[in-house]
């Protein structure tokens, strides 16, 4: 009988990227900046799928990076500063001392090491001034147009005391590009009573490999909300965003949605360190397996009076070619008054739920779509057609699988 070796869950070759195979140094000159409205229509259409709008009607600022270089840097609010990270590092001495590589260690792994050796770092720097509530989201698109490179992005987001910001980061690639590596470092600093909502939408091609690394530090009364949605999975994604709730009453909330597909290996984690008194954290992972491997983990570490809950839920629609979901919610407590809980469940789409909705007049596909949408809590993302299309695809598979 074949036994499951815990280390077998992700095959070595799919998670370990040979960075030497990809170009890391630009071979083209830095292009001139354009306005978001000047993005070529074919690219703009692709960006819309991950929540980035060239029209900017309901956006406060736009940053677009294409391969190695920023192409759009446009801010439309006086309370908001948006700069390419290289410019920000040149402008502010304190940035390197207090923030750069402080929430994500440069020596964490070979991907951070790679990012730290880039001679001219790329990525965005966003600062929201004290007390400012930015009405519309800031959007960033990290875009790849070629498959032979490793795109390295290093972002820093700083919210000063009482500031509020919604940030949408869409990561995707031009239609027809098959491979490539994306390494994203994002360090966020949420000040006293500030609130950052970061929504990240990924849509990749089948051969891409993606390594996002995020670290967030939240001060007293601050709140960090992270929504991550993987629409079209890459060949491999490994991410384990970490948040430190250092200040009294700080809070964090994660919602991670993974739509798997055949041949993809996705490992999404999430660690929250509840260090401050009366901090709270809530992690929710939702995954739909249609083939491919999905690991969903979550670790909460309580070292003070705190409340925390992690919940991993999976739905296996189709497990072709050794697909699976592995759910491991974890808790670690070193304080008697840390109240922590976890739950995990994996199941299929229950036929009685589908039939119930059919008895109200829906056809099978409509019922399955609604159930998947509800299971994912997908309304959070406000994504239109692309998310609908993926859910429809999964509903189609579910309708033709075993009932």
């Amino acid at each position: 009988m074949k036994q499951l070796d815990f280390n077998d869950n992700q095959p070595e070759d799919s998670l370990n990227i040979d960075l030497g195979k990809y170009r890391a140094v630009p071979d083209t000159p830095s292009p001139a900046l354009i306005a978001p409205g000047q993005v070529p229509p074919a690219d703009a259409r692709v960006m819309t799928r991950v929540g980035v709008s060239a029209a900017e009607l309901e956006r406060s600022a736009t940053y677009i990076q294409e391969d190695f270089f920023p192409v759009c840097v446009a801010a439309h609010s006086e309370y908001l500063e948006l700069l390419p990270i290289a410019d920000a590092l040149a402008k502010y001495d304190w940035l390197r001392e207090k923030y750069y590589w402080q929430a994500v260690p440069a020596n964490q792994d070979k991907y951070t090491a790679q990012a730290s050796t880039v001679s001219e770092p790329q990525g965005y720097f966003i600062r929201v001034k004290a007390g400012a509530k930015i009405p519309y989201p800031v959007q960033a698109c990290l875009y790849m147009t070629r498959g032979d490179i490793v795109q390295t992005v290093h972002n820093i987001v700083i919210l000063e005391e009482g500031a509020e910001l919604k940030l949408i980061t869409g990561c995707t690639m031009r239609d027809g590009v098959r491979a490539g590596v994306h390494i994203g470092i994002t360090e966020s600093y949420v000040g006293i009573n500030a609130k950052l909502t970061s929504t990240m939408v990924h849509s990749w091609s089948q051969e891409t490999q993606v390594r996002p690394h995020s670290g967030t530090i939240v001060e007293a009364g601050g709140a960090y909300v992270e929504n991550y949605c993987s629409l079209q999975p890459a060949k491999s994604v490994k991410t384990n965003p970490k948040t430190w709730l250092d200040g009294k009453g700080a809070s964090a909330k994660y919602l991670t949605i993974i739509l798997g597909s055949e041949g993809a290996a996705i490992d999404t984690g999430g660690e929250v360190y509840l260090n401050g008194k009366n901090t709270s954290a809530e992690l929710a992972h939702r995954a739909v397996c249609t083939g491919g491997r999905i690991n969903q983990t979550g670790l909460l570490v309580g070292s003070n009076v705190c409340r925390a809950h992690v919940d991993c839920a999976g739905m296996v629609v189709d497990a072709r070619n050794d697909g699976f979901i592995l759910s491991i919610p974890g808790l670690r407590s070193s304080h008697p008054e840390a109240r922590m809980s976890h739950e995990a469940s994996i199941g299929k789409i229950a036929p009685e739920q589908v039939e119930y909705l059919q008895s109200r007049g829906m056809d099978e596909r409509e019922a399955i779509s609604l159930i998947i949408r509800g299971f994912l809590g997908a309304d959070v993302f406000g994504l239109g057609a692309e998310l609908d299309a993926r859910i429809e695809e999964i509903a189609e598979l579910a309708g033709h699988g075993e009932a």
């Binding site: 039939e355 059919q358 007049g361 159930i371 509800g374 299971f375 994912l376």
Partner: protein, 258 residues
């Protein structure tokens, strides 16, 4: 063409669940605008019958036919039957995490935009506001589940309503609310002033019939309808003698005939 006088006609129906026959050679006719009560002890096949009429795939018709408004629907699926105008309230409906009553309302309105105001009025009349944004049946009490189920029939507007024990497992206050809802659901509507909505109500306790007068009662025992008649007489007999009384009575009738 004259509309068919019978909303539901069931001929010699046999229903199997997981290969076991639970309904045997059953006949039942409900003329348009009549409300029939289906009585019987637990496990006699009442729920099996209405699940089979609605078309749930686990309830397999092995023989016989079901006609809705004159059309043979025996081979039609669940969705088609719902779209033709059959609706039911389940006794133990599933919970559906993430799907809310509002989603079902949105679905109905997306197909019938002209009903939007009417449905908003229904929400307010039946005080359903607090239910709309809750996951379907999650954490609801027995009475609340009955109300949420009944409310969906106001929204989906079926011409044949199948109600599975709207009066079971609820307290007297909830019964009053549910009774009034059933009464409103089945009462004469302005478009068809002469008649009520056609319905088959399953009841084990008969309490619902204090709120909604039935035109006819059927007693079901062991997968067969063995007695039909004036609901006042039938219910009175059951109240006095229980379903054992029905068995004795039927036995006596059989002896007289033979």
């Amino acid at each position: 063409m004259r509309p068919n006088p019978n909303t539901l006609k069931i001929k010699a129906l046999c229903v199997q669940v997981e290969g076991q026959e639970l309904i045997h050679n059953l006949n039942l006719t409900i003329p348009e605008g009549e409300v029939h009560a289906l009585l019987g002890p637990n496990g006699c096949g009442k729920t099996t019958l209405i699940m089979a009429i609605m078309g749930f795939p686990a309830y397999e018709v092995s023989q016989g036919q079901i006609f809705f408004e004159g059309r043979d629907i025996t081979e039609l699926g669940l969705t088609e039957r719902a779209r033709l105008g059959i609706g039911l309230t389940q006794q133990r409906p599933p919970t559906i995490t993430g799907v809310r009553l509002q989603h079902i309302i949105d679905y109905v309105i997306s197909n019938n935009p002209q009903r939007s105001d009417e449905i908003a009025r229904l929400v307010s009349d039946f005080k359903m506001g607090p239910f709309l944004d809750r996951d379907i049946h999650a954490g609801l009490s027995g009475g609340e589940i009955k109300r949420a189920e009944l409310f969906q029939l106001f929204v989906t507007h079926p011409r044949l309503a199948l109600l599975d024990e709207p009066d079971s497992g609820i307290d007297m206050d909830a019964l009053k609310l549910v009774g009034e809802m059933v009464n409103a659901l089945l009462s004469k509507d302005p478009h068809r002033p002469a008649k009520r909505k056609t319905a088959l109500i399953i009841t084990h306790t008969n309490q619902i019939l204090d709120y909604v007068p039935a035109d006819k009662a059927h007693v079901m025992l062991d997968g067969r309808i063995l007695c039909s008649g004036n609901p006042y007489i039938v219910i009175n007999e059951i109240k006095q003698h229980g379903y054992e009384g029905c068995v004795t009575c039927l036995q006596a009738a059989k002896e007289i005939r033979s």
